[in-house]
Symmetry: none
């Protein structure tokens, strides 16, 4: 099942969600993912720390003409950098566990992505490395998880196949043919807007600084998990830019006593 | 997006439709197609005149463990022989022309295939060679055509991707998850649960107490709106009981400096 329309333009949908390949290993898979994206009308590709660097000749070989996607692809050192300007991020993962986040099917995610694009917001979908998949920290960067309904007895899904299913559902969701009613969403006002991931990270950094200074995160073994929990909590739902400003104020205010005094020992007696 | 259940059997559905690869060229694609079949719970693979013969080592390399499908695959000299025992045959093709036959979407075909299997009949789906696709004679062997709704500006669909979309829709059609996308659901773990409204209010009361004590809410006109914003923020998404405990700790810790000193004046100089 092949053949490409000779002179037809790719006709990229610039409002389509960004595909973020996190630590991809093989150039072949990156190219095949780009080809699948083109099949489903996706265009924006971002690569986080590709193992073999970028560009890779192998990617062009398997892209089968989806060159414009590869040429426009951007490379990022960290996932945080790759999603900084996005408003919504979904993470694909075969077996969500120990994670409290909304879990969507591919179809459900496609429908949400259409709805998000319709509101003029920028979304991205994360795909993990070939062997290991996304790790816990990657998933903490996402607002929701996407789990494909597929044979649980054979979960080994090729990276480009994972992109294909999402691209296919994205295309279908724009078709109007089987679009389910969009779920109720947060109402926007004129006064504020959904915070970007960079703004969320800015607040988290502020909060963590203060918690480090206060000693709350002093248990080194527990620190990563606690930070991840705080990140999970903030990713859920759409935090607005105005709410983040309020939260900055809350943290600053609560921490003022400590800042005026300097670091307090946990059991320091009241003077 | 990877990972395979260790000891789980493939659990092949022996009534699932046969995948017929017509004159496939690359062993890699045959293996990748088998992997996609396993993902969607398909099992029977037939090869019509594979260009490089059979078996092919490359196929096992890309099948990623779907070996039983490759081992059970049969080779046929002609398409007629390959479909001889089937009751229904669908042919996938990107651009049906000069052919008067029913044309189905992948989803429509999956639904028909389920219905056919439910009646105890044997069905097959034909996929053409990598470059040329099925020819007119191949299509003449089919009861109906399957055309995927995908980007018409980029029709170059990889063979294994074409199998993937069908396998995915086959799985969905049997899953019952063909129904409208479910609303976002929160995944629970053994370790925690969604917080009750009373627990949320308990945390809000704690936070507001500290903010009142610190003077953050001293502007009486703005206070109700600020409290409401904090409540809105916490109600969005499902906060867990464990996360609330973390938040209680955060607020307590951040406020400790003030509590030890008593109420600080906003512009009180550092002693």
């Amino acid at each position: 099942m092949t053949g490409r329309e000779g002179g037809a333009p790719l006709g990229p949908d610039l409002h389509a969600p960004v595909v973020v390949l996190v630590r991809p290993q093989l150039g072949e898979n990156i190219g095949a993912a780009a080809r699948a994206m083109a099949n489903g009308g996706l265009f924006h590709l971002r690569l986080v720390a590709p193992r073999d660097g970028w560009p890779l000749e192998a990617a062009w070989r398997t892209a089968s003409g989806a060159d414009r996607i590869l040429e426009a692809a951007t490379v990022h050192a960290t996932l945080a950098e790759a999603v900084a300007d996005l408003h919504h991020v979904f993470a694909t993962c075969p077996r969500p566990r120990h994670v409290i986040k909304p879990v969507l099917t591919a179809r459900g995610a496609a429908s949400e992505l259409r709805e998000i694009a319709g509101r003029g917001l920028a979304a991205g979908v994360l795909f993990g490395p070939e062997r290991a998949g996304l790790d816990n920290d990657d998933m903490a960067a996402a607002d929701g998880l996407v789990r494909y309904p597929l044979n649980p007895a054979f979960m080994s899904l090729n990276l480009a196949q994972a992109v294909m299913v999402l691209a296919y559902e994205w295309w279908l969701a724009g078709d109007g043919s089987d679009a389910p009613a969009p779920p109720p969403r947060t109402l926007m006002t004129n006064e504020t807007r959904v915070a970007t991931k960079a703004e969320l990270e800015g607040f988290l950094a502020h909060l963590i600084d203060e918690l480090d200074a206060s000693g709350f995160l002093r248990n080194a073994a527990k620190r990563p998990g606690m930070v991840r929990n705080l990140r999970h909590l903030l990713q859920r739902g759409e935090v607005t830019e105005q709410e983040l400003r309020t939260l900055h104020g809350v943290v600053t205010e609560l921490a003022r006593g400590r800042r005026l005094r300097g670091r307090l020992e946990p059991d320091m007696p009241d003077p």
